[in-house]
Symmetry: C2
Subunit: 324 residues, 2 copies
């Protein structure tokens, strides 16, 4: 059974094999850059683990795994343009290092490349794989659009926020797992349960991310606290705090959140204190735990010996480990 490390090595090897030494280099250099910025390759690892769980041939899952990783990195390249984000994983983002046009075009080429690579899969599974990738690609676009809409919307509800992160984050986790099940020839029922495991795991993972942004250990987390607050993201924490806060506290929350005249540290400190005061963290943790419990219930329903599920379970737990 492959370990997470062995999968990561395999994936990185295959990614460096992809012929990106092509002309025009203005197109291919940013693609290589975006793909080798040091991501954790969680999604393609999920594909390989899911394939192995159903006793499929991991080699045959590689095109789908790579396609998903390239697709994921394409979304980051374009999102960074839309979000005007200069830094990702401690490095300059593609559009910032080159320019917006190159960011757009090399992203486009990555999306096309994802489909080219998935088309190297076995003929027999081509149709469900292309359907999986195109469907999730459209859903992620929908999620990104909702996320942008929420920036300008005064009244975002918690269910709306959850629907957005489902599209923007959770369905890709779900689809990554589904791809492995498709390659391994799992039953429709098992594939469905695995998808739902992934969807709920993805939701839990996003909740963790929201919590870490405010309550995380900066050293462990590797990025500065309060990024969501500074960029005025209406996360679950904000929306729940808005619901829980009353009177003066509510006014303070709205005032500090919307105001841009404070320096970032003051703002993050003020909002974090309000979050702590109204006890929003325990709500977020509870929601995260609920999603994870749902995920596990779906995993349980898959008709496989529990020993087959071990690797995947271990990775899921690792993803959700409490660093706060």
């Amino acid at each position: 059974m492959g370990t997470q490390e062995s999968y990561l090595r395999l994936l990185n090897e295959k990614i460096s094999d992809i012929a990106f030494e092509k002309e025009p280099r203005e197109l291919y250099e940013p693609m290589t850059y975006a793909l080798t910025m040091g991501g954790k390759r969680i999604r393609p690892t999920l594909t390989l683990m899911a394939c192995e769980m159903f006793k499929g041939n991991v080699q045959q899952a590689l095109p789908a795994a790579l396609a998903i990783e390239i697709f994921h990195n394409f979304t980051l390249v374009h999102d960074d343009i839309m979000d005007v984000a200069p830094i990702r994983r401690g490095k300059e983002t593609v559009y910032k290092k080159w320019n917006t046009n190159i960011g757009i075009l090399s992203g486009d080429a990555m999306l096309a490349k994802a489909f080219e690579i998935i088309s190297e899969s076995d003929e027999k599974i081509m149709k469900p794989l292309v359907q999986m990738l195109s469907k999730v690609a459209i859903e992620v676009c929908e999620g990104q659009q909702l996320d942008m809409n929420f920036e300008h919307s005064e009244k975002v509800t918690i269910p709306e926020y959850l629907a957005m992160i489902r599209l923007k984050t959770a369905v890709l986790v779900a689809s990554s797992l589904m791809a492995g099940a498709i390659v391994a020839g799992a039953s429709k029922q098992d594939t469905r349960e695995l998808y739902l495991f992934g969807e709920n795991l993805g939701m839990a993972f996003q909740m963790k991310d929201d919590i870490l942004d405010v309550f995380g250990d900066e050293k462990k987390f590797g990025k500065k606290k309060g990024g969501d607050i500074i960029s005025k993201k209406k996360t679950y924490l904000y929306l729940k705090a808005h619901e829980l806060a009353k009177d003066k506290t509510l006014n303070s929350l709205i005032y500090y959140f919307a105001n841009s005249t404070f320096d970032n540290d003051t703002k993050v400190k003020a909002i974090s204190e309000i979050y702590a005061k109204v006890g929003v963290k325990k709500h977020a943790e509870k929601l995260m735990d609920n999603y994870y419990a749902k995920a596990l219930a779906h995993l349980k329903k898959i008709k496989l010996p529990e020993s087959n599920k071990k690797n995947l379970l271990k990775l899921a737990e690792q993803l959700l480990v409490r660093e706060f």
Copy 2:
């Protein structure tokens, strides 16, 4: 046998059937807008005609035809952002009507949608179709990158320009035809000849476009003359004129082409006069005729009765008719 008009009707019907009435409307409205701006649907018509030429089932070619049309319109949406083009087909471009982020994202969703629609094709032809679409998508990105590079390059050669328009324009015409051949189950050899027919036809078509931009009848052509001159595109006309012009004429060409202080009309008039003086039009026409002759030679090699090829030949001739 379907006429061009009947194919256009069929395609427009199918395009309006695609479920674009979805949420978030900020994503789907621009997609609908871009797809219904009134293009001539030449590429998907070529797919259907190629399929029919090989006695394939035209209904089965519809997913590929629609995918190609959606893909083509995606390239226009993103190109207009990169080229800062406010108007297309007499209407505001997507990024101009909405904003750049919406242009990027709805374009992305169109590219994904193209693959979703092509995945509705028969399982047996899924692999070559997805390979065709992903390959051409990457090539078109390469072409667009070269086009952008040439804007800032002082010394573009004619072979470099021709290589660029092959990638940016001709390979999509070729692939549109190839898709129809794949659906109809044509032989590898015939499919290859049809592809090369399309590639050369696409080159001829682009030559015509370059000529029309300067020497076309504004009323017939439907857009103002000299767009390429105003946007400083180093087209075949410019590059050939640069080669042919000597001394004072060459200096004038360089001077007027690079200079932005003149009003557009003065500039277009001056450059057009130089083009006429050095006789660049007949060179461009000769090149166009050469490409078309090559195209016809490839069409001839396809092992089918000449009567099968009539429709396609008629459309090709229509595309290249001299309106200048």
